[in-house]
């Protein structure tokens, strides 16, 4: 009996290993299942539809791939992709330029009440719907809006400046909407930095500026990168802001997809959707590669 008792644990698998696995599966399962249920059928649907024929009013289930031919041969779509990437890049850069100093300042606030106030301020754009936000901007940026009135009153411009229904308007709207997504990853990485590191730099003779240049900035770079990636991806996929603030003049893939679906041009919409997915994924993966290299470089000599 005692012999059995001694050998038994070594032979049989402790039951808690299975139990633990099951618990983990139970925890992660619903979220994954939900995503897959949405993702896989819709991707399949896209693939199937993209290959079908469209005869002016409806989709005919004949495999022709003609939508692909249209998309890849028409220079119109190349221009649209270019505009869209330009829009995303400009938006991301402006968000970083505005967001980094804001994140830096917020990360330095000591009083909990002020931190809370800063967070509410930063995240306030997300508390309103994107449609309401866009119409708000329309009023503010219109020819007779407050911004043009201000510019004219001060005397900076003679006649009203065009601020909506163009590239500028969309960028303004996107920056407003995406700034919280830029600021947040940067704040979290700045808050994780050990304050002793800055003191160590100062102790070693670095002024505030050089401490930032050689310590704070390189150490916060992963946060900047995450922020840039998030902002870029979200602006690539933005629909409401370009649709409403672009006024039909700033065409991007999500807007085209929406229009084509309304026109029942499903094959082209499907191709465009797949192109958008491919575009976003390529930028994410290639930027990851670049990031790794940049990290290796930034970790070099100060």
């Amino acid at each position: 009996m005692s012999l059995q008792a001694a050998t038994a644990p070594a032979v049989s698998r402790p039951p808690w290993i299975w139990g633990r696995g099951l618990v983990l599966l139970g925890l992660v399962g619903p979220a994954v299942a939900f995503s897959l249920v949405i993702l896989i059928p819709s991707l399949a649907l896209l693939l199937v539809n993209s290959a079908y024929h469209f005869d002016r009013i409806r989709v005919v289930p004949i495999v022709t791939f003609e939508a692909y031919r249209t998309f890849f041969t028409d220079i119109f779509f190349a221009r649209i992709i270019l505009t869209q990437v330009r829009l995303a890049v400009v938006t991301t850069l402006i968000c970083l330029l505005l967001g980094y100093p804001a994140a830096y300042a917020i990360a330095k606030i000591r009083r909990p009440a002020w931190v809370m106030a800063a967070y509410i301020l930063v995240f306030s754009p997300l508390l309103t719907s994107s449609v309401v936000r866009a119409y708000g901007w329309l009023i503010i940026l219109a020819r007779g809006g407050i911004v043009n009135w201000g510019l004219q009153t001060v005397g900076l411009v003679e006649s009203p400046v065009r601020l909506v229904f163009n590239f500028t308007g969309v960028v303004i709207g996107l920056v407003h909407f995406l700034l919280p997504f830029t600021i947040f990853p940067i704040i979290s990485v700045l808050l994780r930095l050990d304050p002793a590191l800055k003191e160590a730099a100062a102790d070693l003779g670095a002024t505030r500026l050089r401490t930032f240049r050689h310590v704070t900035w390189p150490l916060s770079f992963p946060g900047v990168y995450a922020a840039a990636q998030l902002t870029f991806v979200l602006s690539m996929n933005a629909f409401v802001t370009p649709q409403l603030l672009g006024g039909g003049r700033v065409l991007v893939l999500p807007v085209l997809i929406y229009n084509n679906i309304s026109d029942l041009q499903w094959p082209l919409a499907a191709v465009q959707a797949l192109a958008l997915i491919a575009l976003v994924w390529t930028t994410v993966f290639s930027s990851n590669l670049i990031f790794r290299r940049a990290l290796a470089v930034s970790s070099g000599a100060p």
């Binding site: 160590a200 100062a202 102790d203 003779g205 670095a206 002024t207 050689h214």
Partner: protein, 395 residues
């Protein structure tokens, strides 16, 4: 540890005559260092308050050139704040901080000739070992060749030659420690500040690094100011120790002085173990102080601040208490108390005897293993210690 004071009893067991020798030579107490214009660091009446919390309350210190000086005390005693004021990370609310004779109260850290080794090292994880050590030199604007030469020499100094291109994350605790030391020393600071840098290491590595730090210090010959709460570490490494409590320096002196002649109960118990006995001083001279306690008279080393009539504690270290069979006592020892053995514990290098006096006071004695007749709990014995090992505490 510290003997509790039992209920006062009138029974007296004086085992020696009152002898107050008048000898030449002043008291064996520590004299504060004479003010010297070439002190590496000097604090004059320095105070620091954080809001309502007074971290440092009027501390004056002089630290000599090339001295290894320790600030020793429990956490929250203000020792790190003093270090940070010397490094320039905090400004005193009152008082003056001098570095090499110059007031530096408002000089920022990056313009001070000091370097600090941080408690958690604060190495730059985005830089490799070479660039960490080169950081200070590059900030000073040294050219690449000079930087390389000095960094390699610093790596040599801390025994890390060949580690230049290692990442910080690839280093062990002891290696990180050495990188931090090299990163500070490569700048050849006139004062090196160390904020409990060995705290995170395990005991063996800690002891090894203590030895290495001592050796490095002899090689570079610079002033070291070392903050620690570990009395052994302070005793092992320092030329002098300032014992701190509640924002005040309680006592300054060499390890021998501070350990051998503690001034207050706090110092006596914070540095090592001590038997504390409450007693009234009946006679005080330059040869000895006689106190009258619950178990009779005790002779202690002379003390300038002690006058007859006052109530004081006297302290005697457990390793200075001998335990004899009643019929074997060495009559040359000034202080002898009849005791009973309560507990005997073998501790390796020594044996600990827990004793009770006739008045009920507890005493602890640490005796080296040796060819003596074994005492067991319940035995009657005599606890004896020399006058020179017995100190009157004034606080």
């Amino acid at each position: 540890m510290a003997g509790a004071v039992g209920p006062a009893s009138e029974s007296q067991h004086a085992v020696s005559e009152i002898v107050v020798k008048e000898s030449e030579g002043g008291p064996a107490m520590v004299r504060p260092p004479v003010a010297s214009p070439d002190a590496a660091v000097e604090l004059r009446e320095v105070s620091k308050a954080f809001g309502k919390i007074h971290a440092v309350k009027g501390v004056s210190l002089q630290i000599g050139q090339n001295e290894f000086f320790s600030l020793l005390g429990p956490s929250g005693c203000g020792k790190t704040t003093i270090l940070r004021m010397i490094g320039g990370f905090e400004q005193p609310t009152k008082g003056l901080v001098y570095l090499n004779g110059r007031v530096v109260n408002h000089v920022p850290p990056y313009r001070r000739d000091t370097n600090l080794i941080f408690q958690h090292l604060a190495l730059f994880s985005h830089l490799d070992v070479f660039d960490n050590i080169a950081f200070g030199l590059r900030m000073k604007g040294l050219d690449g060749r000079a930087v390389r030469q000095k960094v390699l020499a610093a790596l040599e100094l801390v025994d890390l030659a060949g580690f230049e291109s290692r990442r910080i994350t690839q280093l062990s605790g002891g290696q990180k420690q050495r990188v931090a030391i090299a990163r500070a020393l490569v700048n050849e600071p006139s004062v090196l500040l160390l904020d409990e840098p060995l705290g995170a290491l395990d005991l063996r590595l800690r002891m090894q690094m203590q030895e290495e730090l001592k050796e490095i210090r002899h090689r570079v010959g610079t002033t070291f100011i070392y903050v620690t709460h570990d009395q052994t570490e302070a005793l092992t490494m320092s030329d002098r120790i300032a014992v701190m409590r509640d924002g005040l320096v309680v006592q300054v002196g060499t390890g021998r002085e501070v350990y051998g002649a503690p001034r207050t109960r706090f110092v006596a118990t914070f540095l090592g173990d001590s038997n504390l006995l409450e007693a009234r001083v009946t006679a005080a001279g330059s040869g000895a102080v006689i106190v009258e306690g619950a178990d009779g008279q005790i002779q202690a080393t002379p003390h300038t601040d002690v006058r007859p009539g006052g109530d004081f504690f006297v302290s005697v270290r457990p390793e200075h208490v001998q335990v004899w069979h009643p019929d074997e006592v060495d009559p040359g020892i000034e202080n002898r108390l009849e005791v009973r053995v309560r507990e005997v514990t073998f501790k390796g290098a020594f044996t600990e005897y827990r004793l009770v006096t006739r008045s009920g006071q507890a005493l602890i004695a640490h005796l080296p293993a040796g060819p003596r007749r074994a005492l067991v709990p319940g035995d009657a014995a005599v606890a004896a210690w020399r006058r020179d090992d017995c100190v009157v505490l004034t606080g």
